[in-house]
Each structure stands twice: as C-alpha cells, then as structure tokens.
Symmetry: C2
Amino acid sequence: MNIGEVAARSGLPAKTIRYYEEIGLITPLRDVNGYRAFRESDLHKLAFIARARALGFTIEDCRALLALYQDEHRESRDVKRLAQRHLDKIAEKIRTLESMRETLSELIEACAGDHRPDCPILKGLCEESGKAPGKGVA
Amino acid sequence: MNIGEVAARSGLPAKTIRYYEEIGLITPLRDVNGYRAFRESDLHKLAFIARARALGFTIEDCRALLALYQDEHRESRDVKRLAQRHLDKIAEKIRTLESMRETLSELIEACAGDHRPDCPILKGLCEESGKAPGKGVA
DNA sequence: CCTTGACCTTCCCGTAACTGGAAGCCCCAA
DNA sequence: TTGGGGCTTCCAGTTACGGGAAGGTCAAGG
C-alpha cells in the first residue's frame, strides 16, 4: 500500500502520516523505489491513532495507548488511568470555556451593536476584574 | 515604570510584555540606558489585552479590539460582530469537547480498571467509528 | 571603591501537531 | 516521449509565549 491509499483509508492526510512516521509512531517498510510500503498493521495503527486523536488525546498519549494496546500483559487499570486523566483535562477546558462564554455573552447582550461608538464590550475589557477564567484553554 | 513594575501591576509576565512589544501591540518609550519606559497608557493597554486574552480572544483579535477601543469613531456594531464570532468559536469548542467527554466517559465507565488486560477503552479505539467529534478543539 | 544581587537587555531555541510549498524522482498511459 | 499524478525529502511557518544564556545597569553595603 502506498501512502495515498493509506491516507484515503485512514482518513488522515499523507502529510500527517509522514509526520507520524517521523516521530516514530509507525514504521512502514520501504519499496526499492523509496516509497513507503504500508502493511495492514500500519493502517490499523493509524486508524487507532486517528480515533484517539479525535477524542483529544495528545500524540504522547497516543504513543502510550498504542504501547498498551500492543502489550499482551497490560493492565486495564493503566489504560483507565490515562483516559481518566485526559477526561479530567477535558472537563477543565470545558469549565474554562463556559466561564468565557458566560462573561462574553453578557457583554455581547449589553452591546447595542449599532453605529454608535459606545460599547459595553470595550468597557468591560477596560474595567472588569471580577471574573478570572484562569489560564485559557490551551 | 520599568518592566518589572508593569508586570506586577498588569499580572502579565515580563516575557509576555516584551513579546507584545515585539509584535507591535504596545510601543513603550526607552530610557537612555535602554530600559523600556512604560507610560500609564501602556499599562492600561496591557491590562486591556490581558482581559481580552482571558476571554480567549486571539492576539489578532486583541489587536483589532485595541484599535477599535482607540478609535473615537468606531461603531459598536464592529466590536459586537468580532465578539460574536469569537463566542461562536467558543461554543463550538465546547460542543466538540462535550462530545469527546461523552464518548470518553462511556468508555471509561465500561473499563474495569484492574490488573486484567481486557479493556473496552482500547477496544473502542480499535473499532468504533460512529462518533466523529470533528477536528479537535485547536 | 568594589562587590553583590536584583534588574534589565537581546538573542536563540523549544513547544504541539501539524500544514504548505519547493525541488526533484518515479511510474503509467497516450 | 511527454504529460500528469504520485511519491520523496527538506525547509519554513503556525500560536503565544517560556527557558535560558550572555551581558549591561543600578542601588546598597562593606
């Protein structure tokens, strides 16, 4: 399988697949002409990674998950811990974003949004100090 | 005012303030010794930016907001539009994250999390294809 | 007067996870 | 043989900074 087919079948851009090889997530073989020669197992791994990424796991998480996945003697406890930590981070991001949404929608609601220069949003950015949503969502 | 004081009073790290100067958000004067000499107006701008950042606005949004803020003839409509677009993005990120949270917590719930290798989380990453939360939260 | 330590300066590298683009092979079909 | 698409590598850029090195400056203490 060449990279184009793998890209089509995994849903990942070829660029991304090359990147995953570069950082050692996969190790496709090579044809004599230098083209990457993907096995079914490579495709399978890529699909695994794609789904993990879609759940928001970082690349390093994916690497760990992949290692666990391939380890016959893994303990599901380790997988669960990793996933739980990730879930916690997601929950915190949601909280941060909801705090932003709250503040922002109040400001927007208060703004006439017409041709006049008077604007509660800008005023809010000037004076407000009550709400501190934290460090952003990264 | 030197950068240390401005950092203390604005809550922004000195590094960040230098960065904001580098990208042209502020333009502090310079003392003869080469130290940045901040005016009250610089501090004010930095505080403005800090609050906008805390609401999740990008640096470029901040630049635009600052320009609107300093424009006597702005129309609040323009501010509101910018804020509304940002709010929409936030709402979408929240949706994405909630979808991830949902899927992830189902998988976690189903996982025994003990010493055995059997793990629904890994299985989910292998097979699942029903839920596609989109492009991540970026 | 000299030293010490806290500031300040610039400069460069690293982050996460790619994406875009350039320059150049390779392969197949007309 | 020529054209077009696919493949290769390498380099640069993205966002918003943070870390750290090398070195100038300033005020206080001995």
